[in-house]
Structures are given as C-alpha cells and as structure tokens.
Symmetry: C2
Subunit: 223 residues, 2 copies
C-alpha cells in the first residue's frame, strides 16, 4: 500500500521524464489549442513559452524528451504538435471516467465543460443516495454504489474521480481499486491509501489559495 500520491514536480516518472516536464506538456497543449483557435497554423518555442512564462529553451528542452517536433524556418505545426502531445499523454483516444458522489462538487464535475475536448468522457456517476439513483445528471446516468464494479468493467472505465465527503473517501477508493480502476483523482480533503498499481492525484483546493496568498503578499512587499 502506498500513500496518496501528491503532485511532485521534481520526482521522475517511470520513464525518467521529470513530472514537471509532463505537467508542462498539458500547458503547451492548452496553448497550442489556443493558438490554433486563433487561426494560426504554426507557432514557435518563443511564442509558446512567452504566454506561459517559460523561455524558448525550456520549451525546446521539454519537447526534446519525446522527439523532434520543429521544422527549420517554420517552427511547430500546431495540429501536428497537438496530436503528438496527446499521444504522449495518452489522450489521443477516449478515456471513459467515473465520478463517485453527486453532491455539489460531483455535479460541478459532471457539468464541467473542460473535460470533453481533452479526451475525457464522464461515462457514469455513482451515489449512495438511492433517491438520486436512476436519475441522469448532465445526461450521465447515476448508479448505486453496488453497481460500481459491473458498470466500471462493462464500460471499460479506467479513471475515477472521488467527490464524496472526506469520511467516505477511503471506502470509495477501495471500491474503485477493487473494480480495476487504474487512476484516481481525489477531491476529498483527506489522505487515502490505495494499492500500488493504482495511480492517484489528490486535489487540495486550499493549496491554490495558499499559493495565491504568497504571490499577493510577496507582490505587496515589493511595491
């Protein structure tokens, strides 16, 4: 059993690509999608880095972990690099996702518009509340907890999001792991323990505020 895997920008993934590089891939992907939406077919490492606050060298170094993507005199072809990054991240194909808990947070996740266009499809929701079972939220069916195993396997769901109260998070994590789920995003503000084969990311919303507080305080001191 391992402890909750938190974000760790310095540690290496199995393939020896630093996690910070993988997390920047997500940012490059967003930026490339943005550039493409703005009608530009190509971009450069300078341009890509500028909006994100990275140097062009950083962008090139990060991408070099995975191959050679730029063209001399042209730069990066947006569509091509988008597809390449999605292939690296594994999001060039559809990932059905399960959400456990249909309280406010669960409902917010069910309605979140940012998942669909990045390759994630919420396939099923689960709740202990029998009143909610059978309902459809955002057109996604809500099942009862004892159907979790069957529904996860039938829909080949590999990722799960935990949006239940802290007190129920460990039980839910165990059920997801038992159902063969390979990755969990835990939104409950509690540390949970899972089998080593399951990957977990804990989202602690207070950390965002904390980092913001530091930025605000430091800015005030410097002006």
């Amino acid at each position: 059993m391992t402890d909750s895997k938190r974000k760790n920008p310095e540690s290496l993934t199995e393939g020896q690509v630093p996690k910070a590089v993988v997390s920047r891939l997500s940012l490059y992907l967003r930026e490339l999608q943005h550039v493409l939406r703005d009608g530009h077919e190509t971009t450069s490492s300078t341009q890509l880095g500028a909006r994100l606050g990275f140097t062009d060298a950083q962008v090139r170094k990060d991408l070099a972990y995975f191959g050679q993507f730029g063209y001399p005199g042209i730069g990066y072809r947006c569509e091509e690099l988008i597809l390449a990054i999605r292939r690296i991240l594994g999001t060039d194909h559809d990932w059905p996702v399960a959400i456990v808990g249909t309280g406010n947070l669960g409902r917010a996740l069910l309605g979140y518009k940012g998942f669909g266009n990045q390759g994630f499809r919420i396939a099923a929701a689960f709740d202990v509340d029998h009143a909610k079972v059978g309902e459809r939220i955002e057109d996604i069916p809500v099942y009862q907890m004892d159907e979790l195993d069957n529904v996860v396997r039938a829909n080949r769901i590999r990722l799960g999001m935990i949006a239940v109260p802290a007190s129920a998070a460990q039980i839910v994590a165990d059920l997801l792991a038992d159902a063969g789920i390979e990755g969990i995003v835990n939104f409950a503000p509690v540390t949970i323990t899972i089998p080593k084969r399951v990957r977990m990311i804990g989202v602690d919303l207070a950390i965002e505020l904390e980092q913001l507080a530091f930025a605000v305080v430091n800015q005030s001191q410097n002006t």
Copy 2:
C-alpha cells in the same frame, strides 16, 4: 494587461524563490499537520520527504530559502515549522475570500471543508441570479453582483474565486479587479486578462486527469 498566470514550476517569484519551492511549502505544511495530528511533535527532513516522494536534501534545500528550522539531534519541531511556513505563505492570519457564482461549483467551494483550517474564510458569495440573492449557503450570505464593490471593500476581501460559466468569467474578473481584489483563482475553463497588479491562478480540472492518464499509460507500459 497580462495574460492569465498559469502554474509555472520553473519561473521565479519576485523574491527569487522558485515557484516550485513555494508550491512544495504547501505540501510540507499538509504533511506537518498530518504528522502532528498523528501525535508526533517532531519530524525529520527524511520523514517529511519520504511520504511526498522527495529526498531529505530537497526538503532541507527548500526550507533553507527561508531560514534555519531544524535542531541538531531533534529535527523539526512540527508546531514551530507549521507556524513558520504559514508565516512565509502569509496564511498565519485570516484571509477573507469572495466566491462569485453559486452554481454547483460555487456551492461545492462554499461547502469545501479544506479552506477553513488553512486560514481562508469564505466571507461572501455573489450571483447574478436574483432568486439566490439574500439566501445563505453554508451560512455564507449571497449578494447581488452590483454589491460586489461595497461588500469586498467593507469586508477587506483580498482574494476571489471565479466559479461562473466561461462566458461570464472575464466580466467577473474585471469587476473583482475594479473592487481592489489582489488575487483570483479562476475555475472557469477560459483564459482571462487582468491588470498586472492582480495575481491569478487558473485551475483547469482536465489537467489533473491528463497527468493521471499519462501516469497510468506509462505504468502499464512498464509492467
């Protein structure tokens, strides 16, 4: 005007402390609180790092940016280091926070238990829906948007969270900036522009899933 400030683990804050170090401070803080709750009054850089996947050298190096905290033969005194980190982050005092939008995400944030014990107090919520105004959600009053300026100033609110649909996020950011808000956490999946004096962190929930997908795919390839 600057673009949305995204998480950038490599760039430096104004005080030349790498952002990655500041983000690890939040993780050390959580871990210290955990160790203390478990009944231990002291801990070591090895122990602190182990659960987070960092080396002891990393932990010591990070903390050394801010001072000398360990005692020979004892290690770190948890309570003392917790207070020191909160002082560094600026969360040793109370931060009143405003939430704009009381849909599912706004309600989830209003009910989120993880803010209170890290120094953040949701002081006010705002919504365009007049039916919700005057209501209290999780005992927090809901105001109409045209009261934002007054309420923010009267309550000395410095941080705001945007939990409105993407289409309304920019207008809300402008209103928050005009009201003197110094930091914004934007949950809307859209890039927004704010005056340079306002700090912003954009939370893109799909990024967590993407990073998880990468971890899952890479693990599968290695087994």
